[in-house]
Amino acid sequence: MSELTGHMEVNSVEPGAVSPERHPMDALLREERLPHIWCSGCGIGTALTCFISALLKSGLDLDKVVVVSGIGCTGRVAGYVQLDSFHTTHGRAIPFATGLKLANPELKVVVFSGDGDLVTIGGNHFIHAARRNIDMTVICVNNFNYGMTGGQHGATTPVGSITTTTPYGNYEHPFNLPYLAVASGAVYVARWTVLHVRRLERAIGEALAKRGFSFVEVISPCPTNFGRRHKQRTGLDTLKYYHEKGVIRHGADPKSVDIELGGEIVEGKFIDIEKPTFLDCQVTAR
């Protein structure tokens, strides 16, 4: 896990669960699968840490929580959580999760995957699940590139970024994910960088508690493939960059939260509304 783990505060684990030998999160990690594959300085571990601590505080029945991932470095999350978990194909975590949720509405379905997976190859599923307001929480680790395949550009890569497939600088307009999610129909949308661990954890907790399509964008360092091409050799360099560029603006107009290279990173909760879910509407229609 990243260098940030040490700063985490986990204060609401059930009594007795904490012992000197066991990390408080071990109960939700598949220890036998560790060490994980992530590079040092990668932000995915921090995002996972925030998810697990939010989950431990959520009061949810953990036997009913299901994690679905697609393919990518972030997609490996499904393989490390000690929960029912599915590592599907590239881009298809959301429709798989849709099938799980509709076939068994008792399940709490969480999709945890990368930007390339969820909004580039899987973008169509993302907007349609939001439109239908399928009751699921989608956590997207946005590291602005395809980490797993060696740092190619994708639908969230800022203009001007150097990636292995934009050697002269990216000239495609990227998606603004909160705006996309809100426009598509999501009922909860927040964005945090992995520097803001408490706020990120709280946002994930709120998203988990929400009925309907909730979305948390996690801005995260990929030193190996993205950072080092942008003067951020280590994960810590990127965290410093977040510290410098991050501005918290709750309720900001999602239209205004584009991310540009070198520009401010607007964080916060952008929308939190009530709307009947797919299953609610289906019951009414019958």
Binding site: R33, D63, F96, G99, L100, A103, L107
Partner: protein, 385 residues
């Protein structure tokens, strides 16, 4: 209609509708699809029927999504199906592979139309038979059934669900626009008279060392689903018996692929179903399937009236292939005639099994119609001269 919303009795029914009703009888309670001719009626019927039987219908945004939703539903413990035609079948291939790799029971119906590409949307084809066999990447074994009538489409849809649960694998129903759109008598027996294969469930409680891919003696592992407390991990990566990825060398790939293939291959006698006609005295054998086999019945009768000793082997199960039966026949018959609505797919398999012992005459058709009787008759005549 029964209290549970099931139909029983004798109906004048379209093939696609019979398919949907067969699924319902088999216990299907989740359908995800995307409209496409000539399979649309299956989706429409399911949209109407799923709510009546306590199931879920969802029209997804495309066939990639449909296939994945079906896999997800199966992992939630519900029998699930999708139905499509050529273009959608192509889109489903990657995730059919996910279903095979993760050993997910489900049924995929392909009401074949003329191709390639958009081809002949409303007209018949059988051009997806090899795609059914090999369309997803990697080494695997598949089960595919091919009905020749609406009644058989009903029966085989039930069988497809049963095989998918028995072998824990997606099963393909490879029908076509003729059978799907044909209206004929369909008898739906009362539920008590239908054999329904239940899912094989773990025999240990959660926390007692259940391993998702530890197989029983017949190579099929019992299946826990999401939400039961087993805390399973399921991946499309090559995995060990715990379900954990093992991708640094071929050490897990060997046993996994061997098991995925052998759990079907070693039990192919249980799976393969054929219909045989006049094979006792046959010197020429027509090997065909689906609507092409049905269309070959008349030229076969005509040929027999001419004194040609011709018989038929109708493949009801197309994959796994009835290779032993064809090898046997190849020892003693003069030739095979293979009418199919494509440019030679199953004919290649027949040729492989005949292994040069008897020539194989393909009667191709590009799609858009069934063979004319004289085309098949001409091939039979040529085969005996």
């Amino acid at each position: 209609m029964s209290e549970k919303g099931l139909l029983t009795g004798s109906f004048f029914m379209q093939g696609d509708i019979a398919c949907a009703e067969g699924a319902i009888v088999a216990g299907c309670r989740f359908f995800a699809g995307y409209p496409i001719t000539p399979a649309t009626e299956i989706a429409q019927r399911m949209a109407e029927r799923m709510p009546q039987v306590g199931g879920t219908y969802i029209q997804m945004e495309d066939e990639l999504a449909s296939m994945n939703a079906v896999l997800g539903a199966s992992w939630a413990g519900v029998k699930a199906m999708t139905a499509t035609s050529g273009p959608g079948f192509s889109l489903m291939m990657e995730n059919l592979g996910l279903g095979i790799m993760t050993e997910t029971p489900c049924v995929l119906v392909n009401v074949q139309r003329g191709g390639p590409s958009t081809g002949l949307p409303t007209l018949v084809g059988q051009g997806d038979m090899m795609q059914a066999r090999w369309g997803s990447h990697g080494p695997y074994e598949i089960i595919a059934l091919s009905p020749s009538s609406p009644q058989e489409l009903f029966d085989l849809t039930i069988r497809a669900f049963n095989l998918s649960e028995r072998f824990r694998t997606p099963v393909l129903v490879m029908t076509d626009a003729e059978v799907g759109h044909m209206t004929e008598k369909v008898v739906i027996p009362p539920l008590e008279e239908v054999e329904i294969v239940p899912r094989r469930r773990p025999r240990v409680p959660p926390g007692d060392g259940y391993q998702p891919y530890l197989p029983d003696e017949d190579l099929v592992p019992p299946m826990a689903v999401a939400g039961e407390g087993y805390r399973i991990h399921i991946t499309g990566l090559t995995h060990d018996e715990r379900g954990y990825p093992s991708t640094n060398d071929d050490s897990a790939q060997w046993p996994l692929i061997q098991r995925l293939v052998n759990k079907i291959r070693l039990y192919k006698d249980e799976i393969i179903e054929v219909e045989e006609l006049y094979l006792e005295d046959a010197e020429v054998v027509v090997v065909s399937y689906g609507i092409a086999a049905r269309a070959a019945m008349w030229p076969l009768e005509l040929a027999r009236r001419e004194g040609i000793r011709v018989g038929m082997l109708r493949l009801i199960t197309v994959w796994p292939f009835a290779e032993e039966r064809i090898r046997e026949l190849a020892q003693r018959v003069q030739a095979f005639v293979v009418p199919e609505i494509n440019w030679g797919q199953i004919a290649l398999e027949v040729e492989r099994c005949a292994a040069g012992r008897a020539p194989v005459y393909l009667v191709p058709h590009p799609g858009g119609d069934i063979h004319k009787p004289e085309q098949v008759l001409a091939a039979i005549r040529r085969a005996v001269t």
